[in-house]
């Protein structure tokens, strides 16, 4: 019996010794990403290989794809289970939770020329002057137009809805679930989900009521936006227009129809832009946090940002000119790059995000559900949203 015990102890000791030695010996890094696109992964692996060539102590850099649907849930489950990655892509909506919780390691010192990053685009990833994730992709929303179906290009939302009545104006990521996508429309009315400090609900504001009345009418009266449960694919040529992020332009490479990309149409409040973001951060709990931050610095330096720009719009001022972007975005014309991408990134507001975003998401989704019926009482539904989320906004 005692021999058996001794054997178990030895085995346990060996195990702990092995796991403890990883921090000093050769390092292996893992970054969770939500892309499974072969071209994306090829580029990521090329950058990683270049880094490893100069850093022989890093034996492996693995890009671990987690499907976008449920990405944050899977990531947090990995963290909870003690299997946190060394680096992780983070969706803009989870940024406040990750940045404020202290899950991420500070990285400003590792970022090359951090001063040239567009201030409005890194705001979400900062706390007390420190940077906690690098926004490697900042993708403005634009209006894709199928020019076979629409002859006169719209300048305002009224024109856009009129031109696509019966011909479909789609919001591919909305699906009557991801309400935050609607911010690409309601911003034109000057509406916002909550105040800048995140404490006041904005859904019951007159601007929001006007904007949502417009959206409701576009769905049920004008029959421009497809109704709940109906899926129409713009990228297959079945819709007149689509409100989507410009990173989707790649899907139009082999389009069999004429198309163009416009900035978001004007609302009653004039010009505006809305952007979606993705950041990459280093998990503080990683045993190789130091090496991971060092790799992040390399991954996001000016040279690599330029390479990544073909898929992920950059936030470096030196790269934000039509000439540089045109090299990596052959599908878009220089004026489109200027008006949608460059202007969008510099003046755009990021899609709504808040601490405890997922709970807000679900609560707002549920409270907005009664709106998606032809006879909905819009004012009452929106007041109801505020009643439901008030305690959540005050909790922060």
């Amino acid at each position: 019996m005692s021999r058996l015990l001794a054997l178990i102890c030895t085995a346990l000791l060996a195990l702990t010794a092995c796991s403890g030695s990883a921090a000093t010996g050769p390092k292996s890094l893992r970054m969770t990403v939500w892309t499974a696109n072969e071209a994306h992964l090829k580029l990521l692996n090329e950058i990683a290989a270049e880094y490893r060539a100069a850093h022989p102590d890093v034996t492996e850099i693995k890009f671990d794809t987690i499907p976008a649907d449920g990405y944050t849930t899977t990531l947090t489950t990995q963290i909870a289970g003690g299997n946190a990655p060394d680096l992780a892509w983070i969706l803009e909506e989870s940024a406040p939770d990750f940045v404020s919780s202290g899950a991420l390691a500070p990285i400003r010192a590792k970022v090359e020329k951090a001063d040239e990053l567009v201030p409005s685009a890194i705001k979400l990833w900062e706390k007390d002057g420190e940077l906690y994730a690098y926004p490697f992709s900042t993708s403005p929303f634009g209006l894709f137009v199928n020019t076979d179906l629409v002859k006169e290009l719209p300048k305002t939302w009224e024109q856009a809805v009129a031109a696509s009545a019966g011909k479909n104006l789609v919001l591919p990521d909305f699906k009557y679930q991801n309400w935050a996508v609607l911010s690409a429309i309601w911003r034109g009315w000057g509406a916002q989900a909550w105040s800048e400090d995140g404490r006041q609900c904005g859904f019951a504001s007159p601007e929001m009521k006007d904007a949502m009345t417009f959206v409701h009418k576009a769905i049920f009266t004008d029959k421009a936006i497809p109704g709940p449960g109906t899926t129409v694919d713009f990228f297959a040529g079945n819709a007149a227009m689509a409100v989507s992020q410009i990173s989707r332009a790649g899907a139009l490479k082999e389009a069999k129809f004429g198309w163009t990309l416009l900035p978001l149409p004007q609302g009653p409040k004039g010009d505006y832009a809305v952007i979606g973001q993705a950041g990459v951060g280093v998990l503080k709990r990683s045993k190789n946090a130091e090496a991971a931050a060092d790799f992040l610095g390399f991954f996001t330096n000016a040279a690599n940002s330029a390479k990544l720009a073909q898929f992920f719009p950059p936030v470096r001022q030196s790269l934000l000119n039509a000439g540089t972007l045109a090299k990596s975005n052959p599908l878009l014309k220089p004026e489109q790059l200027q008006s949608v991408v460059i202007d969008g990134i510099s003046k755009g507001v990021v899609k709504p995000s808040h601490q405890g975003q997922e709970e807000l998401n679900q609560t707002i989704r549920a409270a907005l559900d009664p709106l998606w019926k032809p006879d909905a009482d819009i004012g009452q539904v929106l007041d109801g949203v505020c009643t439901k989320i008030k305690p959540l906004l005050e909790r922060q």
């Binding site: 919780s101 109704g227 109906t230 549920a366 559900d369």
Partner: protein, 295 residues
């Protein structure tokens, strides 16, 4: 007297035989159960990496949680709908397919086959069929009925989830009922016939009492199963519209894995555990009353 008596040796062999199963359930059932109970007494911030003992606070929150009440109501509706529909349909099918007619084997296979299909694949296909312009409404259109937007109405969404789940699993209960029906001795029916009992009386007085152990078994399995339905909700409705299909286990998932309240999520699983245990115990006690040979 030596230490290794026959009795002791036999015992050791016995213990060795049960050891793998015992260790397995200790490691993978009892230990996680104990951990869940422990987590429910703590506030666990996964992102911040903090784990703090807060005693009964999560349980106090459970009592004050309005969303939990909504979710319990949704769970009750779902369980009631599922159990009634599943058991009655399974029994009806079993009785029909127990007749000595041509083609029953084909129908048995047909009704059982959904049990073998992957749950998520099954649900995804139904999701397409239940769209406003999907095949369900297409079929209704043939009869001149203008079908609703199934997954967007509060009542129709619940009905859809129940029906999709019933069709998926009714075959399993059907097979259990079939086996039970075939175990009912034929002479009993013949004797009853001679005594002048009609088909309904024979069913009520002979069939039901004799298959009552199976009815107990299937109702326990179905009720416990109905409390654990997750994938169907996650795929078809995500708990909506509103919170009409947010059943307890989906609410648990939201709290723990989506909202990162792992401690509170654990508290809800303790509640779920208590509910399942109480229902099973209740049915087990009631068996003396309505299961033949048990009183």
């Amino acid at each position: 007297m030596t230490f290794w008596t026959y009795r002791r040796r036999d015992n050791l062999v016995g213990y060795l035989f049960v050891a793998p199963a015992l260790l397995g359930s200790l490691a993978f059932v009892l230990f996680p159960l104990a951990m869940v109970a422990w987590y429910s007494l703590n506030e666990w911030n996964v992102l911040g990496g903090t784990f703090e003992f807060i005693g009964g606070e999560n349980y106090a929150r459970l009592l004050a949680d309005e969303k939990l009440r909504d979710s319990l109501v949704a769970t009750a509706w779902f369980a009631a709908g599922l159990v009634v529909l599943n058991l009655s349909l399974a029994l009806l099918l079993a009785v029909l397919l127990n007749q000595k007619l041509r083609g029953t084997t084909l129908f048995r296979t047909l009704f059982f086959s959904p049990v073998l299909v992957s749950l998520v694949a099954w649900t995804l296909v139904w999701q397409l069929m239940l769209q406003p312009e999907g095949s369900v409404n297409g079929l209704l259109g043939v009869f001149g009925i203008d079908g609703p937007n199934w997954l967007r109405g509060e009542t129709t969404a619940m009905v859809s989830v129940v029906v999709v789940q019933v069709i998926k699993n009714v075959g399993l209960n059907m097979v259990l009922f079939l086996a039970a029906l075939q175990g009912v001795p034929a002479p009993l029916y013949e004797a009853a016939k001679i005594d002048g009992a009609g088909p309904w009386t024979r069913f009520r007085r002979i069939t039901i009492p004799l298959i009552s152990p199976t009815i107990l078994l299937t109702s326990i399995i179905t009720i416990v199963g109905s409390l654990q339905v997750f994938a169907q909700i996650a795929v078809l409705t995500q708990g909506g519209p509103g919170t009409s299909t947010t059943v307890l286990i989906y609410y648990l998932y939201q709290q723990a894995f989506q909202f990162h309240h792992f401690g509170y999520g654990a508290t809800i699983s303790v509640l779920l555990f208590v509910i399942v245990a109480a229902l099973t115990l209740l049915q087990w006690r009631m068996r003396r009353k309505w299961v033949l040979h048990e009183s």
